[in-house]
Symmetry: C2
Subunit: 242 residues, 2 copies
DNA sequence: TCAAAAGTGTTTGTTATACACCCATGT
DNA sequence: ACATGGGTGTATAACAAACACTTTTGA
């Protein structure tokens, strides 16, 4: 893990730049997680370099023989151990003065990490990787705050149009968990009966024929997201709207 | 104009690469225009280099002291003479093998060119710049076809959610022109009465208190898009949906 | 007077919203 | 028994879709 941070920090001090990577171009990952209905972002703390001690988005350089998404994936994997994520390009940030001393343009990717993986990341031996609530972010390096702000806005838009939010939940979830997820991301309150109906009418959830356990109230049914049904519907021009 | 093409073609043969630009990173512009309800794209023909004689998106390299959008803007201006456009980042394309012989990643921007500017471009002395209907595109260089396909899809999504389509029309336009624009982009037929009502209810159009002239039927009222009303509405959380 | 597009009205079915209500379960 | 969330029902209003209709104008 320290190797990863070394590699990233390298990107602050050119002398640390690993070989076989593209100059002037980096990757930064915006990783969202969900903690009890609160939206979090994963940050790392730089260990060396000019920006030592400062928080930043996890990222790094791109190898010459590596596709952009693969680079994003690799950096994410090296840091968190998580693979097979919903990982999408967000935007490329290239302000002339965004990086000190030399021109570096960064391609930002974003990912949504499920509740299980959320714990995995937190329990990782990368003691300098940490989740922060989006309303309690520390000072960030470079233009990373700008990337975060853009990403949150983007997520709020995307989550209304595509069922990507499910990636933030465990495999089996209740309808209330799903509702709280949407409330957390969109920062609003939703009407329970109406939300349930809207979701159920889409036929995107499969009942697990199971119920919650260990709760001090009537146990809710557990559902799982039906990827195939979604694929089938999108091919028919289906539009997902919350 | 030949200078522009020289500059762009440079991007094919590294030996032509101008000084003071970033290596391994280029800009490509996807420029949409409207011709009688038909959606067009602006292409240029390379005059020198490996890809001589082939059609490509107008683009080029980024100067070290130049922001990304400024670079996109500059290349567009140099080629078409058009300024002050709706010009947005589309996506960054970076497949390892997208460019022959060396690694070049490109940031794609897109713009919508109004009917007036459309003529301006066509009448320009850049004899190797030409509009093509999106269904009649020639073979394109590198991964430019991929960029075009992505851009068309993106435009179809964006145009439904934000009133960017107005950029493709002249300043004063009729409701039928607007409807034909949407039909052209979305590749569907829309119901006239319903379309009119939907648009008018948004209060985004100002009447010019003027009518069409020179038409062989009842003259339609001319409208203009009210930018201020749109700004005011978006701040209130207004959502534009066609 | 006819074609062509401008522009209005109305009917019908669907969907959104708000809110009242009953159900199940652990403490 | 009661608090807590699970889950259903329904009245109302807003909206979308389809389509019939009247108006204006140049040729």
């Amino acid at each position: 893990m320290s190797e990863t941070n070394h590699r990233y920090s390298a990107h602050v001090e050119p002398s640390f730049t690993p070989k076989n990577v593209i100059k002037s171009l980096s990757i930064d990952n915006l990783i969202f997680g969900l903690d009890h209905g609160k939206l979090d972002i994963l940050l790392v703390k730089h260990k060396v370099g000019l920006s030592k001690g400062q928080w930043a988005l996890p990222g790094g350089f791109i190898r010459h023989d590596e596709n952009l998404r693969d680079a994003a994936s690799r950096h994410l994997h090296e840091l968190t151990g998580v693979t097979d994520l919903y990982l999408e390009q967000l935007k490329t940030f290239g302000r002339v003065d965004r990086f000190p001393s030399e021109r570096v343009i960064t391609v930002a990717y974003y990912a949504l990490v499920s509740a299980e993986d959320y714990k995995l990341v937190a329990g990782n031996n990368a003691s300098d990787a940490c989740w922060f609530g989006i309303h309690e972010l520390p000072e960030l390096i470079f233009d990373h705050k700008e990337i975060v702000d853009f990403g949150i806005q983007h997520l709020q838009q995307q989550v209304r149009r595509r069922p990507i939010g499910f990636n933030l939940l465990p495999e089996k979830f209740t309808l209330l968990q799903l509702q709280e997820l949407y409330e957390g991301i969109l920062d609003t309150k939703l009407d329970k009966p109406n939300f349930r109906r809207k979701i159920m009418k889409m036929n995107l959830l499969t009942s697990c024929e199971e119920k919650q356990t260990g709760v001090a109230h009537r146990a809710a049914k557990l559902y799982r997201f039906d990827e195939q049904a979604y694929q089938a519907l999108t091919e028919k021009g289906f539009s997902f709207e919350i």
